[in-house]
């Protein structure tokens, strides 16, 4: 029985961070928990870094925001963003990171450096043993479309939570267009499998 669970989701505008947080929020509701979800719109979204907060509690959620060092899990769809938000993770929290690289313009036409997969892993290893790097975009592509990487990562997260697989699949079915349902189902299951195999 889940008492309380706080997930920080992060990615780049256009990666489906908000859809993933909507699914996660709905799953909490279906599981009978109080839920709050917080996100930012407007200028912050134009190709910039995006983060959302999803909080579950068996009794009542107060703050819609998770403080730094208080996330039970971080779910990040892009590896540089994973480094940006690592301070949200509590010690020995769960980290699921897509190895996908989306180089910002400060890297492509400027002098900023971009972290390697090894660097990302190294910094997370300092924070937690529960680190899982998933080639989400690749897995999603094998399921039919790289854009379903957000659902792949949710699948991976689901492997660590004590909730029935059907709950997740039912919620996803309610959140994605019918023609993409099978794709997202496959993406979810492959993500769940990828996490379990670790």
């Amino acid at each position: 029985m889940i008492k309380s669970y706080n997930v920080l989701l992060a990615g780049v505008g256009g990666q489906g961070t908000i859809l993933a947080s909507n699914v996660l929020a709905d799953v909490g509701l279906v599981a009978g928990l109080d839920v709050k979800k917080s996100e930012v719109h407007g200028m912050a979204q134009r190709g910039g870094s995006v983060n959302t907060h999803v909080r579950w509690n068996a009794e009542r959620v107060f703050s819609p925001l998770i403080g730094m060092g208080e996330a039970d899990a971080v779910l990040v769809f892009e590896r540089a963003e994973a480094v940006r938000y690592i301070e949200y993770l509590k010690p020995e929290g769960l980290a699921i990171v897509d190895s996908e690289a989306i180089r910002p313009i400060t890297v492509t036409s400027g002098g900023a450096l971009y972290p390697t997969n090894e660097e990302v892993e190294a910094v997370y290893r300092q924070a937690t043993k529960r680190f899982c790097m998933v080639p989400g975009a690749e897995i999603a592509r094998s399921a039919g479309n790289a854009r379903a990487a957000n659902i792949v990562l949710l699948g991976a997260l689901s492997a660590f939570l004590d909730l029935p697989e059907e709950t997740w699949l039912k919620v996803i079915a309610g959140r994605v267009p019918a023609k993409y349902l099978e794709l997202n189902r496959q993406a979810f299951l492959k993500g769940r499998e990828a996490a379990c195999s670790r």
Binding site: V12, G13, A25, D26, L29, D34, V35, K36, K37, S38, E39, V40, H41, G42, M43, A44, Q45, R46, G47, G48, S49, V61, F62, S63, P64, L65, I66, G67, M68, G69, E70, A80, E81, V83, R84, I86, E87, L89, P91, R103, P104, I105, T106, V107, T108, S109, G110, A112, L113, Y114, P115, T116, E119, V120, A122, V123, Q126, A127
Partner: protein, 605 residues
């Protein structure tokens, strides 16, 4: 029925359940989704007005006509609407008028962090502040009731974290029946000069009325259901409001809390009683020490901004760590941050999208090294390198006036103002009238992307559709500008770099004012998306000259391949990001980027 709704969705729902008939707004983060949602409910007229001042006038007119009315805006929108807000406070109305101000602590999408509770005291208008979506929904209805009971406009003050957080809301089941039972609307517009015509003689009689109204509202606040005490350990008493209440509950689960749902006017007796019953009294509120000052004016000692920050938004961590520093919590409550050896994280600022029609204009302006007064919209992003082509940005509609002032002051460079279509209709038009009438040689560029971009594609007077998708004649910019008396007006396709360049060069040579209308729909609009077609670099022709990198397009990448002679990385195009706008192909001196037409030729070969 329970649903997870954002604060904005909840306000829309609450307004509908309260029987609102007319709603007007100008889009602005974090308020935009209120009207977008309300527009879909039955029997509500909802519009995008050209600006917030007009929106408030529209709502006032509807309320004078005896229909419940709503105006919504971001915090700085109230600055634009302030004149109207103040007369509405003086006159009162025949039916409820609620004005939503959505403040933006942390400035996620704003130019300042002003605390609009100040407006409620300034204009003698009560202010309600919900702490989550359920309260947001309920408080809209309560705000309409208060508005009618006290004959006053009511502010509903939200903040970004209330607007854009989703929390569980109980929907009223038989809302439609309740709405139908509301009081019948007036048949005739009221004729009441002493109340509705604010000439000095009438206004002098109204001023005591509104002062008395605030006194009565303070009495009302003493027993207002959303002002409540949650008793706990009385050694610490916390006065709080809005989303800060949530952080207070989380960080101080044991403390006694006075939660104020009405933050102006305050209930003096309730506050005195609470203060007398607790040991240390603190105020937890984001931004200004508004409650703190009001409480101190009552002669009650309290602490607020000496403990908690006056800027940025709060979260549980900010509140907890501030409290530990002030000795309100034991040192053990401090949560240390992980000490990590982190690799550098590249900044990821928001950027002009691939295919953005503003890019070509700023490429030319950047090359011409002209001083550019900017405005509010996506195009502000051209301030960033490599374009670095915007030099001021203050508020909606400021660009043209600022450029005009600099020109009339005798600055030695030719001033340029850039402004988007929606912003032009908002407050740019009077400033352009001024340029025409007072004859400065300012070059005004209207970036007409056929939508309101930054806030997520809202209709505006140039698009041909209203918020509720009625067809309407779009206002054509060129005839409008010519009617102001401009002789040099050129409309170009914003993707046509050569045409933009030619027009601006001619304008710089000429004496007197001129207007360039750079027209091309936002690349993210559905009809534009259908035409996306990624371009390609002919690697052999590219010598890594960097011209295409300098337009700041996220779709153009440095490849791993170096040019043999220059030893510089060649360009490559990300086919998933490129829309095929051809701005890069036009600036490439080596013809190394294929135009759409050439792609087809290559394809056929």
């Amino acid at each position: 029925m329970k649903r997870l709704l954002s604060g904005n969705e909840a306000v829309a729902r609450g307004a509908w359940e309260a029987g609102v008939k007319v709603a007007a707004a100008y889009p602005g983060t974090p308020s935009t989704e209120i009207l977008e949602n309300l527009a879909r409910y039955p029997n509500v007229y909802a519009e995008w007005s050209p600006n917030e001042k007009v929106a408030v006038d529209v709502a006032v007119g509807a309320a004078y006509a005896g229909r419940r009315a709503l105006a919504t805006m971001k915090h700085v929108g109230v600055n634009v609407a302030a004149d109207s807000v103040f007369y509405a406070s003086m006159t009162g109305m025949e039916a409820g008028l609620v004005i939503v101000t959505a403040d933006d602590p942390a400035m996620h999408s704003s130019q300042n962090e002003q605390d609009n509770r100040r407006y409620s005291k300034f204009a003698r208008i009560p202010c309600l502040e919900p702490s989550d979506s359920q309260e947001a929904k309920e408080m809209v209805g309560v705000a309409f009731d208060i508005s009618e009971q006290f004959d006053t406009p009511v502010f509903l003050r939200l903040t970004t974290r209330v607007c854009h957080s989703s929390t569980v809301v109980e929907l009223t089941e038989d809302a439609e029946t309740l709405i139908a039972q509301g009081k019948p609307p007036l048949d005739k517009f009221p004729r009441n000069p002493a109340k509705y015509i604010m000439i000095p003689g009438h206004a002098r009689k109204r001023h005591p009325v509104i002062e008395e109204r605030i006194r009565l509202l303070a009495d009302f606040a003493e027993t207002f259901a959303f002002n409540r005490v949650e008793w706990g350990d009385t050694s610490l008493g916390i006065v709080t409001c809005g989303v800060a209440y949530q952080y207070a509950k989380e960080v101080f689960p044991q403390a006694s809390i006075l939660r104020l749902g009405m933050t102006y006017p305050l209930p003096p007796r309730l506050i005195h009683e609470f203060a007398a019953a607790v040991g240390r009294l603190i105020v937890i509120e984001e931004l200004d020490p508004f409650l703190e000052e009001e409480i101190k004016l009552m002669g009650v000692a309290c602490e607020g901004k000496s403990i908690f920050p006056i800027y940025d938004e709060f979260d549980p961590r900010v509140v907890r760590e501030s409290a530990v520093k002030a000795g309100l919590l034991p040192e053990a409550a401090h949560v240390p941050l992980l000490e990590l050896d982190k690799p550098p994280v590249p900044p990821r600022p928001p950027v002009l999208c691939p295919g953005c029609p503003h890019r070509g204009v700023f490429q030319v302006l950047s090359k011409m090294r002209l001083p550019v007064a900017g405005d509010i919209g996506c195009y502000t992003l051209a301030l960033l390198p490599p374009l670095s082509a915007v030099h001021t940005c203050g508020c909606m509609g400021a660009s043209i006036g600022v450029a005009h002032g600099a020109a009339q002051a005798g600055i030695g460079e030719r001033m340029v103002a850039v402004i988007g279509d929606s912003t032009f209709f908002h407050t740019g038009l009077p400033a352009l009238v001024n340029v025409a009438y007072n004859r400065s040689n300012v070059i005004t560029v209207i970036l007409d992307n056929r939508t309101t971009g930054m806030t997520g594609h809202q209709q505006n007077p140039g698009t041909g559709h209203t918020l509720q998708m009625q067809e309407t004649p779009p206002i054509e910019l060129e005839p409008l500008v010519r009617a102001l008396g401009f002789e040099r007006v050129v409309t170009v396709d914003a993707y046509d770099v050569k045409a933009v360049d030619a027009a601006l060069k001619e304008f710089v040579k000429a004496d007197g004012p001129s207007v360039l209308i750079a027209r091309r729909e936002c690349a993210l609009l559905p009809e534009a998306r259908r035409r996306w077609r990624p371009l390609r670099v002919v690697t052999d022709a590219c010598n890594g000259c960097t011209m295409c990198f300098r337009i700041g397009c996220p779709a153009i990448l440095k490849s791993d391949e170096l040019d043999a002679k220059t030893q510089r990385p060649k360009a490559q195009i990300d086919p998933l990001l490129c829309t095929g706008c051809e701005v890069c192909a036009q600036v490439c001196p080596w013809h190394a980027i294929l135009f759409r037409e050439q792609l087809e030729e290559v394809h056929h070969d």
